[in-house]
């Protein structure tokens, strides 16, 4: 049997024969005056360095001088190809073939430009002739022909041909760079069946780089291979090397765009457009741009890009798949079917169509459809590992954990480089440590260590949220809703996107919700209660619209729902947000979706969340909550935002936009004036304390100066003076309750003065805006206790638990307060929480729980818990007495 892995020694021998050594490509770069660079003509140099205009001119001049020079015509064809002048390139090649019929040297280049234009039969014929006539690039022609056959669905034939490249390689002793690239390309296809061969492909490309470090082609192939195999850093390095050699290289620029997209960077759009500036007919770039537009829910633009790609290459399977996906997302069933049938007529086994459809569906939150398309992919092609991966991951999103895991296992066996699949399988391995608990409508899947504690709080909140939203929307999502509470943020991120690094806190896939555990982040970084409420709102909105609600509306409505749920939840106006408005960086409604999917500055996503929520609030305030429900109905019926607004609000999007910003300016009129200096770039530099004082004293309407000077005075212990400036800052921007807010410092000032009521009022105001400030909640509780308001203290601590439910002391305090005011339900919950936290003195905790049940008149539970306490500590006197009391009561009852 043929060795499947290329012998390393042979590769070294090949490299030595070529005068190179195996090692990092750039180490070979300096070859003195005899190096390839020195031997190249000005035309070739221009082509290699990306000066394509010059390359075309130079080669054209050579061709005019020597029309029968195959080297010159090949150069011209390559230069024209690089800038997308495929027809010109085709003509040049045809002219040469007509003029020099005995030479096969332009047959393969001709085939390549024909292929790029979708002329598959003609391309195949050209490749075949190049092979038959033993052209100098016949090996490249062979791999081109095999790729073409693969693309046509003749998989077995193509793979057999690719397989022969191993023999060719192992039998050969000397290969050119182009030949090594051809071998590497063949190995890359063979990797589909045997992933170990990807490494061999990489090694062969490395050999090619070593043979001529100035040739961008093998580096391009390395970059593409890394990108395909999920190695972003490797791809970035390879494409960067190409761009160092050839700064305008459209393929490498596109590679950079794809790498940026892989890493979640917003540069992808700009880089793709840049590649199209060099080669406007680069079909891969058009297809990629179409995908980016699809993700941005800009379907018209996506379709336009797909059509432009097809105008260049009507047989492009990728472009047709992108068009089919766009039509599907647009709800254009005939358009979808037409594109689909065109793909399948070109290649009946093209799983890429279904993979593209599955990816596009998943990106647009159509997880059920994504799973169905992915299933179609694996049915068409059992080696569609990405199909299995998409099937598995979307099954997980639908709650089919077992089936999803099985399909991911298949995917990983076929493609062990798939980092998303590997990460997800690693995460699934940890699921044995999770516990399932239930409430009437929910299934909670929580790390066993914290399940008992968190279920106490999740179940009540979840049922309350479901009740309220099902009443308001008159819609009931299917139950049970699965809530996965992942113990680390990295796990949550993997559960959501397969990779670590997602910035979000939670996700709703519909009837499956995943989110960070409260312990996954530092206290104060998020409020898990509001996060859950937000995600459940998505569950309602997705269900009501068949998952067709646009991102901006879904997010805005979910944040608005948070604010409706509890004071202090659901975001708040920050100075940065209002300054963004002053700097005209908030997006108009017609473009608000871009703020989520294509942010142009770091805070834009956060700003867009809040802005969208204000739009929803504005609609509800002006037209009633029902208008929001009607908008959801319109989306379910396939309307876009413009049509939905027209139908429900009887105005255009632009009119709504104008009305909204008018409302916005009124709502934030005072802070907008007070923040105007902050929007001035001249005020951005860090001022001295003296300068702050001058500003604060000179302009009582400058929020930043008033607050900053208030801080300075407070730090200096001049609290009475600080109070003046802090009060002024509060009046200028009463919505600000973030770090260093006037409310906090005024509360400390009043507390110090013994004015506990006033201090508590400041903190009440703070947490009514900012529900994430754990310290403020605890301080408020302490103040409430000081002024003999145990119910108020208990309320503050109860709300603090939505920020962090893990603090033993808080549970202890709350249990005592709740017991003291006769809130038995809360006292019992808190005593159960203490037991769940695995206290050192377990007997005492169980006794206290029994006592809480006893106080509530729940004698059966009290007896059960006191027995548990005594089982652990039979001599526990208090527990013994409670048991005897319960026993006597039961005997008396009898």
């Amino acid at each position: 049997m043929r060795p499947r892995i290329l012998p390393r020694s042979l590769l070294i021998a090949v490299a030595m024969a070529l005068g190179a050594t195996v090692g990092p490509a750039w180490a070979q770069g300096s070859q003195g005056s005899q190096g390839p660079q020195a031997r190249r003509s000005a035309a070739e140099e221009a082509l290699r360095t990306g000066d394509y205009e010059k390359a075309v001119d130079e080669y054209a001049r050579h061709v005019r001088r020597a029309p029968n020079s195959a080297v010159a015509v090949r150069g011209l064809v390559a230069a024209l190809k690089a800038i997308g002048e495929y027809r010109q390139a085709e003509k040049a090649a045809l002219r040469f073939n007509a003029d020099v019929p005995s030479s096969p040297e332009l047959l393969n280049p001709l085939g390549e430009v024909l292929h790029l234009q979708g002329k598959r039969d003609e391309a195949a014929a050209a490749f075949a002739r190049a092979i038959a006539l033993d052209a100098s690039d016949s090996l490249t022609a062979r791999v081109n022909l095999a790729e073409l056959n693969y693309e046509r669905g003749r998989r077995a034939e193509a793979m057999a041909e690719f397989d022969r490249f191993i023999d060719i390689h192992n039998a050969g002793s000397s290969f050119s760079v182009a030949e090594l690239v051809a071998i590497g390309r063949a190995l890359r296809y063979l990797g589909i069946d045997d992933p170990r061969l990807y490494k061999d492909a990489l090694r062969v490309f490395d050999e090619a780089i070593a043979a001529d470090p100035t040739d961008p082609e093998p580096r391009m192939r390395v970059g593409e291979l890394f990108l395909e195999k999920y190695n972003s850093a490797g791809a970035q390095e390879a494409f960067a090397e190409v761009l160092q050699l050839s700064p305008n290289h459209p393929g490498a620029t596109l590679g950079m765009a794809q790498r940026a997209h892989f890493d979640g960077s917003s540069e992808a759009f700009e880089l793709t457009r840049k590649s199209l500036e060099v080669n406007p007919n680069l079909v891969a770039a058009r297809v990629f741009l179409a995908k980016l537009y699809m993700e941005a829910e800009e379907y018209d633009e996506a379709a336009e890009e797909a059509e432009r790609a097809l105008s260049v290459n009507p047989a492009s399977l990728e472009a047709l798949a992108a068009l089919a996906a766009t039509r599907f997302l647009q709800g254009d069933r005939p358009g979808f079917e037409e594109a689909r049938s065109r793909v399948l007529s070109l290649n009946p086994r093209y799983a890429g169509l279904h993979v593209t459809l599955a990816e596009a569906s998943a990106r647009n939150r159509l997880y059920k459809e994504a799973a169905e398309f992915a299933r179609g992919a694996v049915e068409l092609d059992p080696t569609s590992w990405s199909g299995y991966a998409l099937l598995g991951v979307n099954q997980l999103r639908l709650g089919a954990i077992e089936e999803g895991t099985q399909n991911l296992e298949v995917a990983f066996t076929g493609d062990p480089y798939d980092i998303w699949t590997k990460n997800t399988l690693d995460l699934l391995d940890t699921f044995v440590e999770y516990a399932e608990t239930r409430s009437p409508r929910f299934l909670f899947f929580i790390d066993g260590v914290e399940s008992e504690l968190l279920t106490l709080y999740f179940s009540d909140l979840a049922e309350e949220a479901y009740e309220r939203m099902s009443r308001d929307y008159r819609y009931e999502p299917a139950t049970p809703i699965r809530v996965e509470v992942l113990r680390t943020h990295a796990d949550f991120s993997v559960r959501t996107i397969g990779l670590a690094g997602l910035g979000a806190l939670g996700v709703s896939f519909g009837t499956v919700i995943a989110m960070d555990s409260p312990g996954a982040r530092e206290i104060g970084h998020f409020n898990w209660g509001s996060t859950f409420w937000h995600e459940l709102a998505h569950t309602f909105h997705l269900g009501m619209t068949d998952h067709r609600v646009p991102r901006w509306f879904s997010e805005g409505l979910a944040v608005y729902e948070e604010r409706r749920a509890r004071p202090g939840w659901g975001g708040d106006a920050t100075p940065g947000f209002l300054v963004a408005y002053l700097q005209e960086r908030l997006l108009p409604l017609s473009e608000l979706n871009n703020g989520f999917v294509r942010p142009t500055y770091p805070q834009q996503i956060i700003h867009s969340y809040y802005q969208a929520s204000l739009v929803c609030e504005f609609i509800a305030d002006g037209s009633g909550f029902q208008a929001l429900v009607d908008m959801l109905d319109a989306y379910r019926n396939g309307l876009g935002t413009s049509q939905a607004v027209e139908l429900v609000l009887d105005m255009s999007v632009d009119e709504l936009n104008d009305a909204f910003f008018e409302y916005f300016e009124q709502r934030f009129a005072t802070p907008l004036v007070a923040l105007a200096p902050s929007a001035d770039p001249r005020e951005q530099a860090a001022p001295t304390p003296e300068a702050i004082e001058r500003r604060a004293r000179a302009n009582s309407g400058d929020f930043a100066a008033q607050l900053s000077y208030g801080h300075i005075l407070f730090r200096e212990g001049r609290h009475e003076e600080a109070e003046i400036f802090l009060t002024q800052a509060k009046e200028l921007f009463p919505e600000y309750a973030g770090p260093g807010s006037p409310y906090w410092y005024l509360a400390l000032t009043f507390k110090e003065r013994g004015s506990y009521e006033a201090a508590a009022a400041e903190l009440e105001a703070l947490i009514a805006i900012n529900g994430r400030d754990y310290g403020a909640h605890l301080e408020l509780a302490a103040l409430r206790q000081e002024i003999d308001d145990p119910a108020g203290a208990a309320a503050a601590l109860d709300r603090a638990l939505y920020i962090s439910p893990g603090g033993m002391q808080v549970h202890e305090r709350l249990a005592e307060l709740a017991g003291g005011v006769g809130d038995h339900e809360m006292a019992i919950r808190e005593r159960r929480a203490i037991v769940a936290l695995d206290p050192t003195d377990r007997a005492e905790a169980l006794y206290q729980l029994a006592a809480a049940y006893y106080a509530a008149g729940e004698l059966g539970d009290a007896r059960r818990e006191v027995v548990r306490a005594l089982e652990y500590a039979p001599n526990f006197e208090k527990a013994q007495e409670l048991l005897l009391t319960l026993h006597a009561q039961r005997s008396g009852d009898r």
């Binding site: 002391q809 936290l837 050192t840 005492e844 500590a873 039979p874 208090k878 013994q880 005897l884």
Partner: protein, 351 residues
């Protein structure tokens, strides 16, 4: 609420016996001796903390009736509290104190040695930092050998203390270290919570955080195992609350194999001896030994019988139907509670 009179009386838990307990402690049951050593603080905050923890331990002992002559406190700065600190904690004084105690202790006496301070670990040797020359485990080994027949509780609450277990482990010895190896070099919190365990009352009243006291089984005594468990859990909670990685992991060895356990217990390789050696006893435990009232003696006998029955039931729990187990347990616990109430009523009648 329990009103414990804390007695630092090192004593092995009386084994359940069918016969009534002897009315008074028998001669030869042994006295207890406490030696507390605080090392170099380095900074005033550590000096203060070490002294505070040592004072808590000594205070618990003094306040509960252990004779002052049975307590030795060697500190870095005796002038800080001359009434309490008997001598400077130099190597010379440590050696002299332990040698003198070895020479005077009765064969059945029990020795508690608590080291509080900073440790170091260099060239494979762990030391506790003292004014002047430091002391290694190898330095302590011959000193402990001087207590050939006595039970020894040796607690090294310093950093890098883990390496002491291997060197000092042996029969009749309970060795506790704040860290699991010499490599855990950062300052430790174990000493603070070990002291708190001894100083707390049995019910843990007033302790913040619902942690309760160290008397985990509420028998009015704090065993070495309970004190260790309490301190270990509170150290864990300290690091969790501060959201920091734990840099100390306490170990206990009492089976003489030289390997400490981080989860000691009655059923575990380590913990059986530590569970039966008590550092603090309340009045009830003392009264049981001291009673001359035949009615009380009967009640104590019934108590021990019920304890055995409860223990026997717990031992077969896993093989029983849950409802049957709970019912039988509740019946036993009611009888046990009634017995306890009767004992209390009788003992409260004693003037």
């Amino acid at each position: 609420m329990l009103a414990l009179i804390c007695l630092l009386t090192l004593g092995v838990a009386p084994a359940p016996a069918p016969a009534p307990a002897p009315p008074v402690p028998q001669r030869g049951a042994g006295q207890s001796h406490l030696v507390v050593i605080t090392g170099l603080g380095g900074e005033s905050k550590y000096r203060e903390a070490f002294h505070e923890w040592a004072s808590q331990i000594v205070g618990a002992a003094e306040g509960s009736g252990l004779s002052r002559s049975n307590i030795a406190y060697l500190g870095e700065k005796p002038e800080r509290d001359p009434d309490l600190i008997g001598a400077r904690s130099t190597r010379e004084n440590v050696v002299a104190t332990l040698r003198q105690l070895a020479a005077t202790a009765a064969p059945a006496d029990q020795i508690v040695i608590v080291l509080i301070g900073h440790g170091s670990y260099r060239d494979g040797v762990a030391r506790v930092n003292l004014p002047g020359p430091d002391m290694s485990a190898a330095d302590f080994a011959p000193l402990l050998d001087g207590f050939a027949t006595q039970k020894i509780v040796f607690v090294n609450a310093a950093s890098s203390s883990g390496a002491f277990i291997q060197a000092l482990s042996g029969p009749n010895r309970i060795i506790i270290t704040a860290t699991r190896s010499g490599g855990e070099r950062y300052e430790t919190q174990f000493g603070r919570y070990f002291a708190e365990a001894l100083a707390s009352d049995g019910a843990g009243a007033g302790r913040a955080g619902g942690a309760g006291g160290a008397d985990l089984d509420k028998d009015e005594r704090i065993s070495v195992l309970e004190a260790f468990t309490f301190a270990q859990r509170e150290v864990e909670r300290y690091y969790e609350t501060d959201n920091r990685l734990a840099t100390e992991h306490a170990l206990l060895d009492d089976n003489g194999d030289g390997e400490g356990s981080d989860e000691p217990g009655p059923e575990a390789p380590d913990g059986a001896l530590a569970g039966a050696v008590y550092l603090v006893s309340g009045p009830a435990a003392s009264a049981e030994q001291a009673t001359s009232d035949p009615r009380l003696a009967d009640l104590y006998a019934e108590k021990r019988q019920l304890e055995e029955e409860i223990e026997a039931l717990r031992a077969i729990k896993s093989g029983m139907e849950a409802s049957a187990y709970e019912q039988q347990l509740e019946e036993l616990l009611v009888r046990f509670a009634l017995n306890a109430r009767a004992i209390r009523e009788l003992t409260e009648q004693v003037p």
